[in-house]
Symmetry: C2
Subunit: 289 residues, 2 copies
Amino acid sequence: MHEHARIAAFFAPLSAGEAGAFHLKDDAAALTPPTGQQIVLTTDSVIEDVHLPVGATAAQFAHKLIRRNLSDLAAMGATPWRYLLNIHLPKRIDDDWLKEFSATLAQLQQHFGMVLVGGDSTGNDRIHLTATLIGLVKIPLTRAGAKAGDGIYVTGRIGDAAMALKNLKGAAPEVLARYYQPEPRIAVGQKLHGVATAAIDISDGLVQDLGQLCAASGVGAVIDVATIPFSPDGDIKTMLTGGDDYELLFTAASEPKGFDVTITRIGSIEAGSGVKVLGYDGPVEGYSH
Amino acid sequence: MHEHARIAAFFAPLSAGEAGAFHLKDDAAALTPPTGQQIVLTTDSVIEDVHLPVGATAAQFAHKLIRRNLSDLAAMGATPWRYLLNIHLPKRIDDDWLKEFSATLAQLQQHFGMVLVGGDSTGNDRIHLTATLIGLVKIPLTRAGAKAGDGIYVTGRIGDAAMALKNLKGAAPEVLARYYQPEPRIAVGQKLHGVATAAIDISDGLVQDLGQLCAASGVGAVIDVATIPFSPDGDIKTMLTGGDDYELLFTAASEPKGFDVTITRIGSIEAGSGVKVLGYDGPVEGYSH
């Protein structure tokens, strides 16, 4: 199929919920955000052989692409709203691949409440996808509000994705799913307004991302390995520094309550700078793609 | 330099005009568009060896990337406002390249009134850049309003970029500049509200893009080769179908007046469908990247 025919067949139906997407047939989208809300913008890419292994399925590409971007909206406390896609594909990609990819996007749109409003497509030597998500929020959470004495909390479990990546052929299905279909903590982020003093999603590694939050807030942190909800059977260094979990890390002055997701205190904010890790002697540095 | 250091050195300064960019240090940007305006979103990529030849300079990459996106805002009648960048670069790219690239972005920002608010960066096998632009408009121009009897108009000159692409080593500097630094017709687009019935930018080729406008409007078109302001010394087929000029094509019920740019009538909208080209016998089809 020609490019225009592919857009019409596989992607234009994903824009049905937004008249300002002009059926993906115009030069740009024109949107009217709800009054009283800020728009939150984030963009991230998924490249074959960089962020996903060669041979990953169309569904796996769609999940990883959308979910890692959603995680950034979650860290701002935002609600997903609209998105754009840049789809750059090698010639070997056929219509079956696009059918699976767009069907997965349709599921993700429905589940997270988003509508496709634009993008571009072109040829490339390997699968290279970018999504730009637009969320809505009244007052955004940021990384810059942590204060000495705050507790440091994480959602879910840390290290699954990094352990999966070390053993893509042999890891348990539950651990593999955490790598291929991370769960963006949208509902948690939305409820953190008035609770968290700062928040970040763990995409580059627990220690590195906590370090970013500390730098933005002008504080230091101490975490205790014994309290971190690690992946079973993982090695500590990989789990402290491995990326791709997309759990939320946040700071709060008092114990957060009433969340549907497991939230664990792993340490405290203190005056100063940098991240101290109790119970681990080796050097720690985050993962960078 | 490490990725974070590069962002801090070369890109964070470009976000100085927007507090909601959080110095490019947070998970996402949070923006408040002016009331009474719609936000216009467009995204396009520039890939080495696809959209620009291997060996193009950092400045040429910056110009092409931003200007081709600006052209889409122009076609909607929008005013540039904010943008995001996905910067995916091979290891050979050094800090000098980034310095030239970001300095060119700074010039473009100042000239067109935009501020960088976010993005991502990662490694890739070749230079692969994406920009997502956010414009503002009260009422967008679209492709879907042309009516039988309207005149068909183009800005500037058609075919320079396609002729340059055929002869990148030997074309005249003025023609080469049109390929490397196309002029987005922002000011024209802004003045077309109430004048144009439909508009599109010529990115894929005059005949193909006019065909898109006709399809969106449910009309046909006839244009006359003798009236088209072609590049000097070009061949007609290349100029009718070559892309990358980024001139505006629009339809209007009466002669548009008072523009600073040369605007030429090249034909008429009629009932029916498809594009007829008077004065040229060969087959015509647009250029697709």
